[in-house]
Symmetry: C2
Subunit: 227 residues, 2 copies
DNA sequence: CGCTTAAGCTTACGGTGTAAGCCTGTAAAG
DNA sequence: CTTTACAGGCTTACACCGTAAGCTTAAGCG
């Protein structure tokens, strides 16, 4: 019965580790939001005292760095052979989906530069795909940067938008009565026609708007290809 | 001598006010960074106790909202008659410069939706300019959103990049020795040729890269104009 | 003058990150 | 087998945070 010797069997007590700490942090933050991540809370989740965490993690900032690293690893890096347009598109959607799965991560990721292995390796892969596609060296860098800017910028806003259809309709109603006297008529008209108010069946709210900008950028990049 | 009556003349003691609190907060944050903004710190800056602030401001979150509002007001809104390309470009650069002037603001602005009068009025103006330019209604919304995504996304990264030339060179050196064994060759090559390493006299570091993406987007939008 | 009331102050509470040091079970060394 | 070292947990403590509750003072007004 006893795996090794005694283990007192009262409680399994798996030993702590950086890995386990970060996993628990991720679970905690996904469930209760980033503002509920405190060293004491996190420790409690692991049935341990706060200061014990410091044996496996330098400080809270290191926990945040670890979280970012976990999230970055969730993002798909298309294999090197992939045609550049498809590769860029898949990457963009993967970033977006990953962040929407962990909305708290949006601010975190960009606020700490922390290159980190994941980011470097990602950058190198993307650049190699662009190079193979025939882009000039300085265009590779800029295309990479530009796509990331757009994607992160878009998603950063998106995480604050209403996800439930009822909330979306309510927002329009409230805006309408706020602007009852015809202030901001352009804004009003545009909102009424916003694509996220009339979704095709099965369509998710802000997908189309995201894709629009993405394709516009990819089109623009394609024109920069020699010939 | 006495302006009104007594004033005890020992200390002028201008009365507190929401306005004064926010101005002081802005000054504090610009000087010592966002992490040094605490109610006690802020109060001290005004020669006052922390709890006194709450007579003019609901709570710390309201202070942050106020800061965002101040920053948004610093951004230029081109007048309605402006040709659309110039208007969009000026707006983009104004956003970028404003945020670079207050780097702490980048995270703050996007993290709190808080439409706020400034944002609404800005949106309406931009949309009207796009409408007058002849863009279809649903394109107006998307063009607006896309530009903002790109600009905020770009600047959000930029605030973390090295500003001093020496730091920039050092970064390349450190990266080089980190990748000594030829890992990530594409990354290495691209970095060596990055535009911010060979600046024309008077040129600021990341201007060209920003403009590149901006023009690419504007070009793409222009193609969407009927005819 | 006296009253009302707003503006500033004091105190206090429950939270935070983390420095310093203790305690104990396990594993290596003799 | 015994002794020792130490890793991995715990306890205590400190300085700071946002802010609730209530007190004090000063200004404005009849």
């Amino acid at each position: 019965m006893a795996l090794k010797k005694k283990t007192t069997q009262s409680s399994p007590r798996k030993p702590l580790s950086r890995e386990r700490v970060l996993k628990a942090a991720l679970a905690l933050v996904d469930k209760d939001g980033i503002e509920s991540l405190s060293m004491r809370n996190l420790a409690a989740k692991l049935s341990v005292e706060a200061m014990s965490l410091y044996k496996h993690v330098a400080n809270k900032d290191a926990v945040l760095d670890g979280l970012v690293e976990l999230i970055l690893r969730e993002m798909e890096i298309p294999p090197v052979g992939t045609p550049w347009r498809e590769a860029m598109r898949r990457r963009a959607w993967s970033v977006r989906h990953t962040i929407l799965r962990h909305p708290w991560a949006s601010v975190l990721i960009e606020s700490r530069l922390a290159p980190g292995e994941a980011r470097l390796s990602y950058a190198d892969t993307v650049l190699s795909i662009l190079k193979n596609a025939g882009f000039a060296t300085e265009v590779q860098y800029r295309a990479f940067q530009m796509l990331d800017s757009y994607v992160y910028g878009y998603v950063l806003q998106e995480v604050n938008w209403p996800t439930k259809e009822s909330d979306r309709k309510m927002l329009v109603v409230r805006l309408k009565e706020f602007l009852h006297d015809g202030r901001y008529p352009n804004l009003m008209k545009v909102i009424e026609q916003a694509s996220w108010l009339k979704l095709a069946p099965g369509e998710k709210p802000y997908d189309a708007d995201f894709e629009f900008g993405l394709q516009l950028i990819l089109d623009g990049l394609e024109r920069l290809l020699p010939r």
